[in-house]
Amino acid sequence: MKEKMVLYFPSTVTEQPFIYYLVKDFNLMVNILKADINPRKEGRIVVEISGEKPDFAAGLDFLQARGVKVFPLEQEIIWVEERCTHCGACSVICPVNALELNRTTMKIEFHGDRCVVCEHCLKACPSRAMEARY
C-alpha cells in the first residue's frame, strides 16, 4: 500500500532518525514531499510511504509510540491570482475543468471544488501560479 500523510514532530523528538528506522526496520519506502523542521523546534514533514500492509501498520505504531503524531494528508491546490497572467494554458491541462477559461471575460476561473489534486497544473502553468499546500 501507498499513502501520503503528514508527520508532526514535537520539539523533543525532531533530532531522532525516524525515517532511517522506517526504512531499515519496517521495509518501508519513504518519499519526503515537503519538510519543515528546524533543530530543537517542532517540525512537520509530508511523506508518501509505501510498503506491505503489516509493515505499514507496524511502522506507524512505532512512530506514534515515540511521540510522532500522524495525520492524513489533506492537500489542497491553491491558485495564486496575483501571479496568474490569465494566459489560459492550463485550461487544456486540467482534466476536470477546475481551471476554466471564461470566454466572455477571457479570465481563467479556478473551481477548487472540482479539483482532484492531480497536480498536472503545477508545472504546466508558465507563471507558476498554481501551488500545492499541505
Binding site: C87, A89, L101
Partner: protein, 399 residues
C-alpha cells in the same frame, strides 16, 4: 477624410480626442460604417501580452572602484553577455543558470532564468551581481560580488529584437507521446491545440501593411513607454495574405526599445515552459492614428476574418517541413475548440487575451488623459522586397 498626426495630437492635448480599442472599433464600424467611424475616431489602441522569447535588456552596471572591465557577468546566477564596453551587459530572457539541470531529467522544469531576473529587477527586488575580469592597467579589478537594484543602475533599457509577431502557428501533436515545446504542453493524438496571438486586438493584425508603424512609433511596452526601433528579426512582409491583407502565417515582427526603469512586473513576467526553457511575457500596445479611412477599414478586422495555420510539432515544425494541417480562424480558436483532420480538438491560448484587452484600455486611458502623444515613424516598416523609402535594403524572396 484625412488627418495628420499633428492634428490628432492637438485634439489629444485639448482633451477632445476620441480613442477606442481595436475591439471596441469592430461593433462601431458594423453599426456606422467605415466613413462615419473614421470621421469621429482619432486613435485606435491595440495590445498583446504573450511569451516573447526574443527579449532582453541592456544594463549598465556602474563602475566600481577600482574600475573593472567585466568579461563575465552573472545576475542571480544567470549569465548576461558582457562582450561590450567595461560595465555594459545584455541579459537575454531565455538564458538559464549554468547550474540548471536543463532537460537531463526530462521534462526539465526551468524554474528560473533571464526572464525571471528581468521581472525581479522591475519588481524592485535585490539581485546578486557577480562579475569576473582578467584585469588590465586601466581596469585592475578582477572580481565583484554585490547586491544591486534596478534603480541604482545608471542605465537599463529593454531592447527586444523580435516582438509582436504578426500571426503565429497553432501547434498540435500527431504522435502518441506528450510533447514539451515553446508552444506549451501538447498532448498526444491531437489532445490540444495551442495558439499565441491576441487576434483582433494584436497590433500588426490591425495595421497589416504597416501603414502607420515603423521606427520611432511610440508604444506601450512592459507597462512603460517605449518605441519601435526597427523591423524585428525574421520580419517577413512577403508571407501569404488573405483578401483583407492579413497574413495567414507568421509575417511581420517588431524590434522595440524602452526604459526598463518605467516598467512593471505586471507586464514583464518571467515564465517557465516545461521541457523547453524560460521566457518572458511582454505586454505591448501600439496606438494607430486614424490618418484616413483605410486605417479604420484595416483595424476593424475581427477574429472571424483572421486565420492561422495548424502545424504538427512532432514532425513538420521540428524537421522544418513546412506542412500545414489546415487553417482556422481566431474566432474558432477563441471558442475553445477547432477541428483538425476531422477530430474536435480543444484549444488553449498562451497569450493572454485578458491582458491584451487591459493594455489596449490602458493605452486608451493614457491618451485620453493627454499623457501620451503619438509620434510619426521615421519610415514605415518594410512591406515588400526591394528598396524601401529610406535607402537600400533588400528582403529575401519567398521560398
Amino acid at each position: 477624410m484625412k488627418k495628420t498626426i499633428a492634428e490628432i495630437n492637438a485634439r489629444i492635448q485639448a482633451g477632445k480626442a476620441v480613442v477606442v480599442t481595436a475591439e471596441e472599433l469592430i461593433p462601431m464600424v458594423m453599426a456606422q460604417g467605415v466613413t462615419e467611424t473614421a470621421r469621429h475616431v482619432d486613435v485606435i489602441t491595440t495590445g498583446t501580452f504573450g511569451p516573447m522569447c526574443s527579449s532582453g535588456a541592456f544594463l549598465n552596471l556602474g563602475h566600481p572602484a577600482p574600475r573593472m572591465k567585466m568579461s563575465k557577468v552573472l545576475l542571480n546566477g544567470v549569465e548576461a553577455y558582457a562582450g561590450l564596453a567595461a560595465v555594459d551587459a545584455y541579459l537575454g530572457a531565455t538564458q538559464i543558470p549554468e547550474t540548471d539541470p536543463e532537460n537531463k531529467n526530462f521534462p526539465g522544469e526551468f524554474n528560473y532564468g533571464g526572464g525571471h531576473v528581468l521581472e525581479d529587477l522591475v519588481a524592485g527586488k535585490e539581485v546578486l551581481l557577480e562579475a569576473y575580469a582578467y584585469g588590465t592597467d586601466c581596469y585592475p579589478r578582477k572580481k565583484l560580488e554585490k547586491m544591486i537594484r534596478l534603480e541604482e543602475l545608471p542605465q537599463a533599457f529593454l531592447f527586444n529584437p523580435r516582438n509582436a509577431y504578426q500571426n503565429y502557428n497553432v501547434a498540435v501533436n500527431l504522435t502518441d507521446r506528450t510533447l514539451y515545446t515553446y508552444m506549451g504542453i501538447l498532448k498526444p493524438n491531437l489532445g490540444n491545440a495551442n495558439y499565441s496571438t491576441s487576434g483582433q486586438l494584436s497590433p500588426l493584425f490591425n495595421d497589416p501593411y504597416y501603414r502607420t508603424i515603423g521606427p520611432g512609433t511610440k508604444i506601450f511596452l512592459g507597462g512603460g513607454v517605449g518605441f519601435v526601433s526597427w523591423y524585428g528579426t525574421q520580419h517577413n512582409p512577403l508571407a501569404p495574405r488573405g483578401a483583407n491583407g492579413v497574413p495567414t502565417s507568421p509575417a511581420g515582427t517588431l524590434a522595440v526599445i524602452g526604459d526598463l526603469k518605467q516598467m512593471s512586473p505586471r507586464w514583464l513576467r518571467g515564465i517557465s515552459y516545461l521541457g523547453y526553457g524560460v521566457s518572458l511575457m511582454v505586454g505591448l500596445g501600439i496606438p494607430l492614428p486614424v490618418l484616413d479611412e483605410e486605417v479604420v477599414r484595416f483595424a476593424a478586422v475581427s477574429d472571424s476574418e483572421i486565420f492561422a495555420p495548424v502545424v504538427d510539432y512532432s514532425e513538420s515544425y521540428p524537421q522544418g517541413l513546412g506542412q500545414v494541417l489546415g487553417t482556422v480562424s481566431y474566432a474558432e480558436l477563441r471558442s475553445g475548440e477547432i477541428s483538425v483532420n476531422g477530430k474536435k480538438v480543444p484549444t488553449a491560448p498562451l497569450s493572454s487575451y485578458y491582458g491584451a484587452r487591459e493594455i489596449a484600455a490602458t493605452l486608451k486611458d493614457w491618451i485620453l488623459q493627454g499623457e501620451f502623444l503619438l509620434t510619426a515613424p521615421a519610415f514605415n516598416l518594410p512591406r515588400e522586397a526591394g528598396v524601401p523609402a529610406y535607402g537600400r535594403l533588400v528582403f529575401p524572396q519567398e521560398g
